[in-house]
Subunit: 121 residues, 2 copies
Amino acid sequence: MLRIKSDYCCDLSEELEELFKALSNVNRLLLIYKMTSGEVEKVTVTQLARMMGLTQPAASQHLKILKTAKILSAEKRGNYIYYTFNKTQMINHKEKIDFLFGCVLSKCNKIEKGKKAPKHH
Amino acid sequence: MLRIKSDYCCDLSEELEELFKALSNVNRLLLIYKMTSGEVEKVTVTQLARMMGLTQPAASQHLKILKTAKILSAEKRGNYIYYTFNKTQMINHKEKIDFLFGCVLSKCNKIEKGKKAPKHH
DNA sequence: AAAGTATATAAGTATATTCTTATATACTTA
DNA sequence: TAAGTATATAAGAATATACTTATATACTTT
């Protein structure tokens, strides 16, 4: 049982490492926020480059990272490639993060309780 | 109004970048999970090094990163420094992440609705 | 088919990350 | 006080990240 949980956390840690790496860049985070605002909903490389003051290859590389991490999906239409959120995977990602923080915060609560009513010894 | 939200996201992005950087390492994530399990609740550098198969300086550096990112707090007692979760800040961190994913997922829902009932033109 | 536009990839550079080994600092105990 | 233990820091090496410029690929339009 503990073994299973331990294995699970090991896999989860590797998955979260990749997710957090993709998210740990201010340009990519700003892009995500821009994509949630009214202004844009699907974004092309050229748009992104202009919006963020990046060169076209830099923008392309950022989008590739977000796509590899399954944060965005790419859909080619004609001359353009439109990037949008990968909703299914984002829900997935969120669940993993919630699990992590759930573990941490419930542990915090347990510790707090232990302090208020310390064990006899 | 939009300007304010934009500024807010800019600050938030920088804060989240730091948080996600601290979390984007498999050893640090595994450490966090270990600290949520029954086994440990406060951890010393030496314990961590042994648990994770790291050298003492490597462990010390990881803990410093987690402390700087306000994920852990350090409490010196005698010869040891005990690291524990920084509950208040973890709640804070969680709120920021929830805001990010909240923005993304509500945008996803809006797009989905727009597709089901497309605008007349 | 040729020219133009959008995107991706390659290769190089500067910087950041993660480890290593060596050493310094702080505290405890004999 | 000296020796032992715990931790932090410094300095260096290997690798990863984020950009740059140059070029390749894919599609569209004339």
